[in-house]
Every structure is written in C-alpha cells, then in structure tokens.
C-alpha cells in the first residue's frame, strides 16, 4: 500500500482519475449485472418462487451484497490503485464499521428482547405505570 506506487504511468492521463475505467462497455456490463441482480430478488419475492421464507431471505440478502459489489467496482471504480489505494482502504474500513453497527445492534437488541419477554415476573403493573 505505497502511495503513488507506479504513479508515473497513472499520471500519464491528464486527469484526476483513471479515465480508462470510464468506458461505455464497462458501464453497460455493470448495468446488465446490476439489472439481473435486481430482477432476481424481486422475482423471488413477488412470485413466491422460494416457499421457505428463511431460505428466500438469505438468497435475497446475498444477492443484495453481490449487487452492492457490482456497483462498487463497475460504477464507483473502487480498486487498489485509485488514490494510492486509499479509497479501497476507506471502503473496507467502512464495511467493517457497518457490520459492527448493524450486526451488533441486532444481536444485542434481539437478546434484550428475549430477556425482557412478558411472563418473567415483570408485568406492566410492576413498572409503576
């Protein structure tokens, strides 16, 4: 992760970004991939193609992650070379924080809800309401 590793070649473009990533073919390929990855989950949910709700949820969530990755590389042009690799570092770091924030919140609150279920001796009257 050295800044400006091989920078001379990149700076040959008279531009901020690698103009080479901005191709019609690249965008159309990304668009086609994203369209397929959007259509499949909508099809699964709208037609009930997968009867088991848990399996359907997992498949839909995995497709969402796949589509996010397609957008990241095809449209946002995140790669190891852009900005000396710092866009990729920031992206991965954000993904970790996202997982901790969302996963951690759901995990904690799920167990909190289980432990605060009614019928554990704490009826509404006990709260002094």
């Amino acid at each position: 992760m050295k800044p400006d590793n091989g920078g001379a070649a990149d700076h040959a473009h008279d531009d901020f970004l690698d103009a080479g990533h901005f191709t019609v073919g690249g965008y159309l390929a990304g668009f086609a991939g994203a369209a397929v990855l959007t259509a499949i989950p909508f099809w699964i949910v709208m037609t009930g193609a997968i009867a088991n709700a848990t399996v359907a949820s997992v498949v839909v969530a995995v497709l969402a992650v796949a589509q996010i990755l397609v957008h990241t590389f095809a449209f946002l042009h995140v790669n190891a070379r852009a900005q000396g690799g710092w866009t990729l570092v920031a992206y991965v770091f954000t993904a970790v924080l996202l997982a901790i924030t969302i996963g951690g919140s759901l995990w904690i609150m799920y167990h909190l809800n289980l432990n605060m279920m009614p019928g554990m001796g704490l009826e509404p009257a006990d709260y002094g309401m």
């Binding site: 159309l28 949910v45 709700a53 946002l76 924080l97």
Partner: protein, 208 residues
C-alpha cells in the same frame, strides 16, 4: 565534523513525489469526498440498525404487507438503476469533452431522479392518508426516517445536477467543473448503493 552530521540530519524529507502539482490538486478533493461518502454510509448504517431493531415493532399498526406496493418499488428501483447508467454515460461524455452530450445525459439523470422522488412522495402520501404515519409505531418511525433520508439525498442530488448545469452553461467544461462532476457522479452512484439496501431489507424482506 559534528556540523556536517547536523546538516545531514536536517535535510528536509519530502513525502510528496513532485508529480502532484496543481494539475492533480483534484485528487485530494476526490479522496476527501470519498471519505465524506463513507461517513454518510455510517449515518445510513445507524438508520438501518435502528430499522432492523424496530422491524417488528408495529404496535398493532399497519405492517409492510398492508401498505407496500412492490410494483411501485420495482419501478422506482428500475428508475434509479437507469439513472446510474445515464450518470455514467455523462461521465464518459465529459472525458471525451462532448459538452452537449454531457448536458443531455445530466438532464436525463436529473429527470429520472426527480421521477424517483415524485413516486416516493406519492407512496408516502398514500401511506399517510391510510393512517400509516411516522408517529403510528416504532416501525413506521424507522421506516420514514430511513427511506426519507435516502429520498432527501436524491433530492439534493437533483439540485446539485441543476447547479452543475448552470455552471456548465456559464463556464463550460473547465478543470474545476470536471472535478465537481466527478464528485457528483460518485454521490449519485453511492445513493444507488444505499437504495439496494433499502429495497432489499425494507421492502422485499418486509413483505416476505
């Protein structure tokens, strides 16, 4: 002898390679804007976490099955996805220096963004008319906050495109405007990524 050692130690060390003169000054802005987008993603992370925690707190009120029209959500998703493509085509036109094509694609992108917001407002209006207001339940509070924050971002993106169209009309495709347009395209594609999370976890999994 000692003087010479001191001199050698005081040699300034340059961490800049010298290639990053004013011509590449936009690089810092683009990285800074990327960091902003990542921090914006963390705002959405907290909103998604809140929504996830409250995703079954209906308080006896309406559930997603009662008010979500998946056809409308699919239409909005398609609109936003096509706008990502037109935004990309605008960037290609910019790199090729075709100002007229760039402005046309930006206008198409802005119109698609405006259509997205209009359909979302239509959906919100229907929900509120049916009594599914933000104050009805914890679920609906989280729903309106998350989806509304995304809609607000898209609205501001449309305003930004309008500003850039004015800038392009007044000053043409100069260095600063190219940098601004690159930031704008990153912003627009970022909003599309957030929408993937919204339509998947709010709408599809809500109805499932």
């Amino acid at each position: 002898m000692s003087d010479r050692t001191l001199e050698a130690e005081e040699q300034p060390v340059f961490y800049q390679t010298g290639e990053e003169g004013p011509a590449h000054a936009g690089g810092g802005t683009l990285l800074g804007f990327w960091i902003y987008l990542m921090s914006d993603a963390l705002i959405f992370a907290s909103l998604f976490a809140t929504f996830g925690v409250l995703s079954s707190s209906f308080a006896g009120g309406p559930t997603p099955r009662d008010f979500v029209d998946l056809n409308l959500v699919a239409l909005n998703t398609a609109i936003l996805l096509v706008s990502a493509l037109t935004c990309g085509l605008a960037m290609i036109a910019m790199h090729q220096g075709r100002l007229a094509a760039l402005r046309s694609w930006l206008i198409v992108t802005a119109l698609l963004g405006a259509a997205f917001v209009a359909i979302e407002m239509h959906e919100f209006g229907n929900m509120i008319a049916e009594g599914a207001t933000p104050q009805r339940s914890g679920y609906l509070s989280a729903f309106f906050t998350l989806v509304g924050t995304h809609g607000l971002h898209v609205t501001l993106g449309v305003v930004w495109i309008a500003v850039m169209l004015v800038q392009l009309g007044q000053r043409g495709l100069h260095h600063d405007n190219r940098r601004r347009l690159l930031c704008l395209s990153m912003f627009w594609h970022f909003l599309d990524v957030i929408w993937i999370g919204v339509f998947t976890f709010v709408y599809l999994l809500g109805v499932l």
